[in-house]
């Protein structure tokens, strides 16, 4: 009996059958996947996303096999299948296809993450300082707006431009949702770029703060004249009213609003069994599969997409502009409040909950270790989620209408 090694080790032999460009891309993605796992393990990048994503990325590019004599592929997932009969077949073969079809392609996974964020979010700070928080959050949406014309100038259509612009909102589930709604052909690279950059905000924004805010402002302490307390009853009433209002205004983004505010309502109503279910099962389960799925979707064809370089540049521009906008918002509040504010808090308007709030507190503490601003930062942070959801709703409604 003779053993055909090329059929035995198909992951390797397919490297020599494919065109050299794809083979090189596969090898690079395998290495990138391993690097992401390493950086996630070292906590340089967000481990909750990067470890499953890196594993998925290296595995899917390693395990290409001969599906038939002339067709190469993998048995992980087929994101392009749309025909019902083909889908039924694929669901029985590709082991991650059920997760993709029933949670990813319809946006459910984004909603589950959002519900989890709602459960861990205390909106008391937002209710205590609504105008201050909202003003900062609006300024921190600069990237979500200014990136759009740059993206169209670089050749993206309106749907793609809107989806990549939302990276400026710094909210992963929101980017996923917008790209699924408006740029399904690019949702994988856009979402990957978004999550890669969001992982880097913790390391990158401190430099932006140091660049834009001199030390004498960074060490400025905020004087709070009265303690603020918002009851659970007030928070509960707020969530149900605001959810209804936003759903009335933007039915197209209502799944996101419902998920987020329902999460907050469950937290405030104190139903421990639901809180535990959403926080420990839904949030972490969805985050795990989100990371794994993003990695698995990262096959060689993704990196060979000519638009990936444009997306990488635009993602960085969006987050950079939003950071600058947030700090400008911080300065604006500083002058409105007659200098009783720290402009660094503005960075927390970029809604990467709670990373940017932590960055603001960390940088302020470095300059003045007695200055505690977390309540203001978290207020701006939560408002950032709301403003990003509003902008998402507006983009999906306006651009979605144009595309149809």
């Amino acid at each position: 009996m003779t053993i055909n090694l090329s059929h035995l080790f198909q992951g390797i032999s397919t490297l020599f059958v494919q065109d050299p460009q794809t083979s090189i891309a596969r090898v690079l993605l395998i290495l990138l996947g391993i690097l992401l796992v390493y950086l996630g393990g070292k906590k340089i990048l967000e481990p909750l996303i990067m470890i499953p994503m890196g594993f998925g990325m290296s595995a899917v590019n390693a395990s290409v096999l001969f599906l038939s004599a002339s067709q190469l592929g993998n048995i992980f997932i087929d994101p392009l299948v749309t025909n019902t009969d083909s889908l039924m077949n694929i669901l029985q073969i590709d082991f991650l296809q059920p997760v993709y079809t029933f949670t990813f392609s319809n946006g459910l996974i984004a909603c589950l993450v959002f519900m989890g964020i709602g459960v861990i979010t205390d909106i008391g700070f937002l209710l205590a300082y609504p105008f201050t928080s909202m003003l900062i959050a609006i300024c921190a949406e600069l990237g979500s707006v200014l990136t759009f014309p740059i993206a169209t100038a670089l050749g993206l259509n309106y749907g793609e431009a809107a989806a990549v612009s939302i990276i400026g909102g710094a909210d992963g589930p929101m980017v996923l949702y917008t790209s699924l709604m408006l740029a399904k052909n690019l949702f994988v690279p856009i979402t990957i770029v978004a999550y890669l950059y969001l992982s880097l905000t913790y390391g990158g924004y401190p430099y932006l703060i140091k660049l834009l805010v001199p030390k004498k402002y960074r060490e400025h302490a905020v004087v709070t004249t009265k303690t603020t307390h918002v009851s659970s009853k007030q928070k509960l009433v707020f969530t149900v009213v605001i959810n209804t209002v936003l759903c009335l205004l933007f039915p197209v983004a209502s799944p996101l609003f419902l998920s987020f505010f329902l999460g907050i309502a469950i937290r405030e109503s104190g139903i421990q069994k639901y809180i535990k279910l959403i926080e420990e099962v839904f949030l972490y389960g969805a985050t795990f599969f989100l990371g794994l799925m993003l990695g698995v979707l990262c096959d060689a064809s993704t990196i060979l997409n000519p638009k990936i370089l444009i997306l990488l540049v635009l993602g960085m521009i969006a987050l950079l502009l939003s950071g600058v906008g947030g700090i400008l918002g911080g300065y604006l509040v500083y002058y409105i409040n007659r200098k009783n504010f720290n402009p660094v808090i503005g960075i927390a308007g970029v809604s990467c909950v709670p990373t940017t709030a932590k960055v603001a507190q960390k940088e302020i503490s470095k300059a003045n270790r007695y200055s505690f601003i977390m309540q203001y930062a978290l207020g701006a942070n939560i408002c950032g989620v709301i403003t990003t959801a509003i902008l998402t709703g507006l983009y999906v409604t306006i651009v979605g209408g144009l595309v149809k």
């Binding site: 300082y129 905020v222 307390h229 918002v230 605001i242 209002v245 306006i398 651009v399």
Partner: protein, 48 residues
């Protein structure tokens, strides 16, 4: 002006109006809730 500029302008303009509207709604709701909840005296929340 082309849609490349009009769309983000429209999105940002409406976004500002709606966001500030929500901030006003929050202020209004806090006052109303405080007025009708006698059993739970709260300290007044104040903007910095």
């Amino acid at each position: 002006m082309s849609n490349s500029f009009l769309i983000p302008l429209e999105v940002y303009g409406l976004g500002i109006v709606i966001s500030l509207g929500i901030a006003m709604l929050i202020k209004f709701m806090m006052v109303v809730i405080k007025k009708f909840s006698k059993d739970e005296p709260e300290e007044k929340a104040e903007e910095v």
